[in-house]
Subunit: 395 residues, 2 copies
Amino acid sequence: MVTSGIKQVAADETQNESIQKLLFAEGLVLENGQKLNHLEIAYQTYGKLSSAKDNAILICHALTGDQYVTGINPISKKPGWWSRMVGPGLPIDTDKYFIICSNVLGSCMGTTGPRSIRTDHQKIGYWGIDFPAITIGDMVNAQKLLIDHFKIDQLFAVIGGSMGGMQALQWAVSYPDQVYAAIPIATSSFHSAQNIAFNEVGRQAIFSDPDWQNGDYWRYGVIPSRGLAVARMMAHITYLSEDALNRKFGRRLQETMIDSSSPIFGEMFQVESYLHYQGSNFVRRFDANSYVTISRAMDWFDLSQAYDGDLVNAFSQVKSRFCVISFSSDWLFPTSRSRVIVKALNRVGAKVSFVEIVSDKGHDAFLLDEPDLDHVISGFLAGIKRQRQLENNAS
Amino acid sequence: MVTSGIKQVAADETQNESIQKLLFAEGLVLENGQKLNHLEIAYQTYGKLSSAKDNAILICHALTGDQYVTGINPISKKPGWWSRMVGPGLPIDTDKYFIICSNVLGSCMGTTGPRSIRTDHQKIGYWGIDFPAITIGDMVNAQKLLIDHFKIDQLFAVIGGSMGGMQALQWAVSYPDQVYAAIPIATSSFHSAQNIAFNEVGRQAIFSDPDWQNGDYWRYGVIPSRGLAVARMMAHITYLSEDALNRKFGRRLQETMIDSSSPIFGEMFQVESYLHYQGSNFVRRFDANSYVTISRAMDWFDLSQAYDGDLVNAFSQVKSRFCVISFSSDWLFPTSRSRVIVKALNRVGAKVSFVEIVSDKGHDAFLLDEPDLDHVISGFLAGIKRQRQLENNAS
């Protein structure tokens, strides 16, 4: 584990487990001009940073993810969210690479977000709904502070799925010299009207919960659990393909009746029970204000926006090698969105591989047992490692 | 307008406008065995029933539809939901055909449903959440009573989109001799796991609203408007294609800021504003208990279920001519579902035409300006009319 001269802050008081995090006393100027005076970044590392500091891979997590990529998540006591991908001898091999994953700005697993205490204001208390409107660019700029802390000049790779893929793209655009390779998976260079619409319905479900208390729910000792569960249930449908749902659940009923006195809901379909579980489980681990903040950051994401709406222009300075990966049954960020990215990268002559993996698992395929994804990632990493050696030998 | 020997009941006390409806004092035995002792059916007719009673077309409405197909809806004061399709000289021509549309069982526009007063119980009051679990088959059996009231031996056609298409299919299966032709549009022979999942999230949004009051909200003088609006917003996304949303709204912002004090929601995307409008508008016109009841009836729909899960078997007795219509961008009931229907009809040697209309308008295309749909419907109706004349001349 890395220690540093920068102050290592104590464990978050809201968690039983210690959370590894750093305080960046200089703060962070956000893209909207506002300054966060106090920035903490919670992160995990796996593997060993080489003396040349040339084997670092930054993994960027998705909307409701966290920094516990592999091993056992100390909060949930369950395996990390990508433990099938990251570890010794696995496609992202911790025997070879130094893996960094930080909780994104605005989240609730230790990095500064709505659940943090604001220090820049006469009103002492949680940020709550007053937390600034952050962007994917802000998340990346916060990660850059962490990478600088490690004195890493160039990341060997930035990898992420879904919102993590947005960060990977943003890294390659914002810091072209610092990203040797980027692997954006199941992602998009912009949030579409439909993406925004689904997010907005989720937020409205949260806002409709009387326990939302206009975002001040902590003060009342409640959480908007019903609204947050509805938001999660809806989002969960968008993460799975129709075929996967048919295969897993079809029209099968739960074996026992739920309530024999209810004419309509005495019986329940298995898919309903599954969604209820997803909803209630999520409420225990995730904060509603963070959900609102991060989902909004995704809505704002449009890589071309700062470049007159021209994605080719956005990519004009990139130097990274790209491996763009989509899944055939992903309807949240369908393959057509990856093609938009690939075409724009081709237009600027970037080095880009593109793979559409045939899978019926939908958007969530990047988190699931999908051997083709393993092969593509391990193959791409091995290839660019050889390539960099050749480049280094030539220079 | 038709009058009859059966008692014509007074206007629903909850509506200012008189609603044309019939009381069926014999009631209705539901598919679950329960008996509704008191059945009222609200309906509208357009055009004139021929003396041979051979020009009747039954139009079946969708989940949140009503009997006001064309002309001005007396409740909303807006044009009927299919006024572009039904009228003099239009594809479903009221100069030629006698159009019947009844509000479905379980709805809230005059036909018996959760908002009706129950008369079979010591507890006087609205049915509310105790309204029986009804099915698409029950809706069709109620419509059959209305058709019998008109002494129509055979409907020239049964036409409907979405849940209306389910009814058209059910009619052809339940009453093979009474349906000369069926036009199921943008529909399915079963509700899939994904369909059920979306419905369930909508219901959970309603149940999460404190004003739901376990379905007894009328007693408290409230309606679960926030939950019902969220349910509608979510459903509305499923009615439109991603391309249509991109075309209509893209990532455009509302021109004026909503709230300059809100860091996150000071600005709003046009698609969000549109969804808010859809949600709040819906709450004014539709009842939450009816939404729960009817959405559940859709979930239960699987035409093959009573036939050992074999759709071919379900269709084995059909005699109707079918025109099955789907839309290329409908992802709620995609073309593949129509193909399932067509293949099963082919297996029993039924007369079936199948048209996939290329449209970017999604599921709602059947309600929108889609000239190809007009041509297909008017062409099919003209064709089967000629066919029936030939058959009649031959016999």
